[in-house]
Symmetry: C2
Subunit: 235 residues, 2 copies
């Protein structure tokens, strides 16, 4: 119901119709999200979206390159919601465990309302050719923001970490959180409680692992793990 996704009025010309295209774009997006929520993605046609928005089919393609790109708008919306929910948690909690747990729980809470049709959503997201897939160039901003969030989870905590581990953790945690989401997508337990269970237990395990890595016995192992990740990130 709220106004547009990327409302960037660079030049403030007249008050009312500062850019006609932006209004049309918002109408199309709103129509699409409404229909997606009501009927599901596959059951919503571009013709129906255009009709509800009061424009011709071709016009929708003037503002959104494809039907999938309409999903991306939704995707970014939940992403923003998660960032805001996380900010409150990170301002409150200081322990690494509480911070990670809070951010991960906020993530699941944010996407929970959309579990029904998340399948189609992430189905397209899993395609390497799709602009929606989390590893693509197209979604680099969202990925970077997300990784920075985990960087703040780590850096703002009162836990002491070795520099190399602290540097690698944001990316490792981002991959970890993708794994939890992948599990959640396939989770059909009531309320997705298995996903919450897995998340809580695995967060516990991660913190245990982190503290274990303080022991000199495990340092070589950690070194090798971090070396591998570093080499993969810089081909």
């Amino acid at each position: 119901m709220d106004e547009m996704t990327q409302p960037l009025p660079l030049e403030e010309k007249p008050e009312k119709k500062l850019r006609k295209g932006e209004r049309t774009r918002a109408q199309i997006l709103e129509a699409a999200l409404d229909l997606f929520r009501d009927r599901g993605y596959d059951e919503t046609t571009m013709r129906a979206i255009a009709e509800r928005a009061g424009v011709a089919v071709g016009n929708a393609y003037y503002y959104f390159r494809s039907k999938e790109h309409l999903i991306q708008a939704f995707y970014e919306r939940t992403h923003q919601e998660h960032l805001e929910a996380s900010r409150a948690i990170l301002a409150r909690e200081k322990g690494l465990r509480e911070r990670l747990l809070g951010v991960m729980r906020a993530k699941l809470d944010t996407i929970m309302p959309y579990h029904n049709f998340s399948g189609v959503l992430f189905k397209t997201a899993a395609d390497p050719a799709s602009p929606l897939n989390p590893f693509s160039q197209d979604s680099e901003p969202v990925r970077r923001q997300s990784t920075e969030l985990f960087a703040e989870v780590v850096s703002g905590a009162d836990t002491r970490l070795t520099p190399d581990l602290a540097a690698a953790l944001p990316n490792l945690l981002w991959i970890y959180h993708m794994g939890i989401i992948l599990f959640w997508i396939h989770d059909s337990s009531p309320g997705c409680r298995r996903s919450y269970f897995l998340m809580e237990r695995s967060v516990k395990l991660i913190l245990r692992l982190i503290s274990l890595f303080q022991f000199p016995l495990l340092r070589p192992f950690l070194k090798e793990l971090l070396g591998m990740v570093a080499e993969l990130r810089a081909p």
Copy 2:
């Protein structure tokens, strides 16, 4: 080039045309896989498949419920190829490291020719509603066979393992190998060498981890990890 995927001649009637439908089915599948490999999935039309198979387009739908179901045939075929390639390796190698490395390398070698359209493969596989997704009831047989393969990798090795770890390893290794495939799908490096690199390095790490778990210091951690996995498998 070889003959059909599921050649199960239950009744041996005449020699040549024991079941006409089976030949047609094989022709369609062969045409589809050839075209998928040469042009990719999206660029291959059902009309092109039918034409190459020498049948009408509707006939393809008599044998395969959808274009996606043709993927499943591919999935099972590469799976079988991998099983056979692995058998030779497991008969030869006795070290756990060599066995796991060999099986994982065989996996990548098997699916490499199809890297072009593997994206679509995982795209459909990621949809929880799809019968193709690796966690579904429908693909349980393949998943079980695959897990049993990793069970043989572990049980046939000369490495000594604690019983609880040995019991959980097959499932953990199956999940690990899914992760490698996920990386491979998004790997655009020449010859997918990054995937091979990740696989080799991570196999090393896994064996290091396994030997580390012999130390009493890490036993509680292992216990907790195995406990979590067990609880997730039996909801």
